[in-house]
């Protein structure tokens, strides 16, 4: 169930559980990527949603030693950003989803993912699924999170785009970002992750 690390924990998860899964206990260090795989319906998204404090749960998660409950929920969620498998958009264009202060970061993230700046002003429904998925990653990274919870972030991407996403994530790991990556792609898990955990029947084990 547990997989401990000797590095100081950026994210500590202690007996986190809800009626849909758990208890889960593990640590993720700064700059570490932990991949989680397992069959569909095993509770991988349930785990990520609990980590983002989007669903009610028992147990606790700590960010650099500070428990979820000790900080306001929006502060927790802007530090521990969750990106759903099918990211939703609430405005007509991608640009409307970014604060003006985030635009310089967006300007460097777009080319890194092979996106032209014109995608920012194209109506969202006219973008391809792959463009939307990459823009969602830009949206998540532009918030400057300390932990990124990614649910199948490259499911809709071609091999070239997958390579760009992995390179960008690798670069952010190098700068101390911690990542919990839910993926079906075992090869990707091996390329990006420092540890791989397997989630089955509501239990998390070292793969």
């Amino acid at each position: 169930m547990t997989a401990t690390s000797t590095a100081p924990a950026r994210l500590s998860v202690r007996a986190l559980r809800s009626r849909f899964g758990g208890p889960f206990t593990f640590d993720v260090a700064a700059g570490e990527c932990v991949a989680i795989h397992g069959p569909s319906g095993a509770g991988k998204s349930v785990l990520l949603r609990m980590l983002a404090d989007l669903d009610p749960h028992d147990g606790t998660a700590l960010l650099d030693g500070l428990a979820t409950a000790s900080m306001p929920a929006p502060a927790w969620r802007s530090a521990v950003v969750y990106q759903a498998a099918e990211p939703a958009w609430w405005d007509d264009t991608a640009r409307a989803h970014f604060a003006p202060a985030a635009m310089p970061a967006v300007g460097t993230l777009l080319p890194a993912l092979g996106l032209a700046s014109a995608v920012l002003d194209t109506p969202i429904e006219r973008l391809s699924t792959g463009e939307r998925q990459r823009l969602a990653l830009v949206r998540s990274l532009a918030r400057g999170p300390r932990v990124l919870l990614l649910d199948e972030p490259t499911a809709a991407l071609d091999p070239d785009a997958v390579a760009r996403v992995e390179a960008l994530l690798g670069e952010h790991l190098g700068r101390g970002l911690a990542i919990v990556l839910v993926t079906h792609a075992e090869a990707q898990a091996r390329r990006l992750a420092h540890r791989i955990l397997r989630l089955e029947h509501g239990r998390l084990d070292a793969a």
Partner: protein, 264 residues
């Protein structure tokens, strides 16, 4: 006022129109004749009972009887508001929200009218308090049920969008703001339309009643204007209240969206 008195024969002549409807239904095979006849009989029975009860309450002018009638009306309106939306909140929250909103919006506007504009003696005079509450509740019912349905239905449709914003650290208030605004707007629009149409497209029911009862047109118009203001105020209070309380029921102290509290 010199109302023309209606006797049973006058009503019978108009009842001929119900027979005409039934005949049309039979002739064109619409299959609604039975429904129309039953509804007509029901309407006559309901209104007769209401007339008898009101005559009794008006004659007695007792505060307890007035309050009992008003509370019954509020309860009936609240039940209607709670059951109209398809979505149901757990722990009877539809009923609790509806009761709070209908009672607050209804009492606030009617008490305002009774103590400022109408000022009967005593202030709770049933001849004024009961009809005022009736017409205000009609609007409150419409506004509150539209706003409540707007939130309960919209939150399911908009869930992914709202949670995408929450997941990026946006406060719930901001993330759910567009939904609350659109639901509240839905509740307030009917009364705005009603005000714009009043007098040009429709002669409002109350005014028509007062004209038929022999009131001077300008006096009838003044009453109608007063009522429209009351209805607008009550609709605003009811829409805002229903939308905000529904959002409160659908969220928790950690600013999560709790659609698990909603059924079907």
């Amino acid at each position: 006022m010199n109302a023309i008195h209606l006797d049973a024969w006058d009503l019978l002549a108009a009842a001929g129109l119900i027979v005409l409807d039934a005949a049309l239904s039979l002739w064109l095979r619409l299959g609604v004749h039975r429904q129309i006849l039953v509804a007509a009989v029901r309407m006559v029975a309901q209104l007769t009972i209401v007339g008898l009860v009101l005559r009794h309450v008006f004659a007695g002018a007792s505060p307890a009887a007035t309050l009992a009638v008003v509370v019954f009306m509020v309860g009936a309106a609240a039940r209607e508001v709670a059951t109209r939306p398809k979505g149901r909140l757990e722990r009877w929250m539809n009923y609790r929200i509806s009761a709070a909103v209908v009672a607050c919006a209804g009492f606030a506007t009617v008490l305002l009218a009774l103590t400022t504009a109408v000022r009967p003696t005593p202030w709770y005079e049933p001849r004024y308090a009961i009809p005022l509450m009736g017409i205000v509740l009609g609007s409150v019912l419409n506004a509150a049920s539209l706003a409540l349905d707007g939130v309960l239905d919209g939150v399911v449709r908009e869930r992914a969008r709202i949670e995408a914003r929450l997941a990026l650290g946006t406060p719930l208030r901001e993330a759910i703001g567009p939904l609350v605004r659109s639901a509240t707007r839905r509740g307030m629009l009917p009364v705005a339309n009603q005000m714009s149409a009043a007098g040009i497209i429709t002669l409002p029911g109350i005014m028509t009643g007062q004209l038929l009862a022999g009131m001077d047109p300008i006096d009838a118009v003044k009453y109608q204007i007063l009522l429209m203001f009351l209805l607008a105020g009550a609709s605003g209070l009811a829409s805002c209240g229903a939308a905000l309380l529904a959002v409160r029921a659908l969220s928790d102290e950690r600013q999560r969206l709790r659609t698990d509290r909603l059924r079907g």
